[in-house]
Symmetry: C2
Subunit: 360 residues, 2 copies
């Protein structure tokens, strides 16, 4: 592992986006969203993906100078066309609209089409917190997941994030893929040559497997629950709801038609929409009850759950968002450690664009 400061990685990332001809404000925003993943310990969605965005841009599948447009609206809803822009830029812009709507009529809901991978869902949901609002964000993604009883990969890992403000306690921030385990965890097991628990993946034939490399052999990730007996039909429901809200409300591609993140895989030749889709929302707390009252009860909720009796001395009960906040505190002090393979990708990018990547 090679350690970098936040500022060094952020500056480098911003310069890469500038080299892709992004506007300064877009480059700033995109690098902030990407670095938020590294800071919060979601390493699979941070600078490790930077080279992927660059390759999509080189293949003309990302437009670095998008005209992000509102194409339909009502007092509480909006549909946004992302103009093939970076999801890292399109999603925060859409979230700003949701927050404006919520300010006016209590809640705001924005469906987005013609976008690309938006980084961590939690970043966008958390934008609502400073406005005393609950934030939500979800996105569809390229198909890696088989519905219950199927061998076909029809859904992405389709994450959902919900951020809820508290008073003295840090906010409640849930941010999770609707699969048993994220693809990034399988990649780590492959590198370590370890096996995966049952319920994470299945073979090409739909049989249970502990091989973390099963995806490469035509297998599939499994919806949260793992198998029917353990509720995989519920994970399949969740992933489907994310797909429909993100893409059918907006006019993006859905299900098996969602374009892949990796540039070496082709897009479907019979698209059913434009790009990938997101869905974000904001609800003003005081559209329901006084914000202070709500936040005091959130403190009480959080304290009761965090103080719950643990199964043993080694474990404790976490509040959603705790692990990511702890990671952020540590990394802000100690820097961000990257795998050699990731550093290598970044150095390749640096050479391509004539940019230096130094640890500080």
């Amino acid at each position: 592992m090679i350690k970098f400061s936040f500022d060094a990685l952020k500056g480098f990332t911003k310069n890469i986006f500038l080299a892709m001809a992004c506007d300064t404000s877009h480059a700033e925003l995109a690098s902030e969203v990407l670095l938020a993943a590294d800071m919060r310990g979601v390493d699979s969605h941070g600078v490790a993906r930077l080279i992927g965005y660059v390759r999509l841009w080189e293949n003309a599948r990302i437009n670095s100078q998008p005209q992000i447009r509102v194409i339909h609206e009502t007092p509480s809803t909006t549909v946004v066309d992302g103009d093939r822009g970076l999801g890292l830029v399109v999603a925060p812009k859409a979230m700003e609209i949701a927050i404006q709507k919520a300010n006016k009529v209590g809640t705001g809901w924005v469906a987005i089409k013609n976008s690309n991978h938006f980084g961590i869902a939690g970043y966008h949901a958390m934008m609502a917190l400073q406005h005393d609002m609950i934030g939500m964000a979800m996105t569809n993604a390229s198909p890696l997941v088989a519905p219950t009883f199927s061998t076909e990969k029809l859904l992405g890992t389709n994450p959902i994030a919900v951020a809820i403000p508290a008073q003295k306690e840090p906010a409640f921030v849930a941010d999770f893929a609707t699969t048993t385990a994220a693809n990034g965890k399988l990649e780590i097991l492959q590198r370590k040559q370890e096996s995966a628990p049952l319920g994470w993946v299945q073979t090409l034939e739909g049989l249970p497997s502990t091989n973390p490399g099963e995806l490469k052999q035509g297998g599939a990730l499994l919806p949260l629950g793992g198998d029917r007996e353990h509720g995989s039909h519920k994970g399949y429901c969740l992933g489907s709801i994310v797909d429909i809200f993100s893409a059918i409300l907006s006019g993006a591609n859905y299900g098996p038609w969602v374009p892949p993140f990796v540039s070496f895989l082709p897009v479907a030749d019979d698209p059913v929409g434009e790009g990938i889709g997101h869905f974000v929302g904001a609800m003003r707390i005081d559209a329901f009850r006084p914000a202070d009252e709500f936040k005091k009860h959130m403190d009480n909720w959080i304290q009761r759950f965090r103080g719950a009796k643990a199964v043993n001395d080694r474990e404790r009960v976490y509040i959603p968002g705790d692990p990511e906040r702890i990671s952020e505190e540590i990394r802000r002090k100690e820097g961000i450690s990257l795998l050699p393979a990731v550093v290598n990708d970044l150095r390749l990018l640096g050479e391509k664009f004539g940019l230096d990547l130094s640890p500080d």
Copy 2:
């Protein structure tokens, strides 16, 4: 099993609610919601619960003549005080408000406090379908579920329902508890003296268990995912979001303070709110894109998923809502079969109120 016609059970149930001094329109609505569960194959939430509602009413924990009131609103949000009424009545009234709001500003969101058990979440969500809207409904419930790494029961089975209209295809209707398995399934295993799969329950000490009677011995149900390795922290997130949306937005009791459904268990002596809470919502499809366009793509989504390659010849891929709709078609023709214990409870109620329960 003893078979009854829909009309016989519906009429009997309505008469019981009338005997509880419900208004005619409330008795009609409550019996319709309860019977919807029996028809859709969710036997645990149908007439099997009727005696439970009566006992809560006898204990003055249900008000059969509630003044359901709007206590706060914005153009897209409302908070409703259910006045300790039947959730079976309060929730559909709240959903009507959500639909009215959606008609005006695109979406409508209603948080409800001071309510009781609302039957199946799916019924309320499905009310939106005839208006070309997406419907959502969730509720908190008495604490039976331990958060990941805890031995304490702090959450209910906290279900979520989402109903989405299609054109030629039947609607997509997801309706599921945020636990690995519903409590009703454990009761069936106990009666059959069979063991439960690992991941459904844990012991008083928080250890894995296959004993379906574990709840009676101080154990707990587990969040969807079952254990940390299989994503139980995600089920815990979902159950928590339902709890917070239903109760902290509205001012109801949350977490371990939620009053129990069974009348022989006491309510908390330090309540943090009033009654139990629900959260319902409606989104007008054409607040995003023309309804016909949306519904055609929903048909395409449904057909693609339903036609997906199955793992073997004995299975097929279901669309959320398929199993319940199939049950409804069969039961409408063949009647509803009830367990002798349920029939016995109904006959006791009949004797109490001087009402006959006949099969036809």
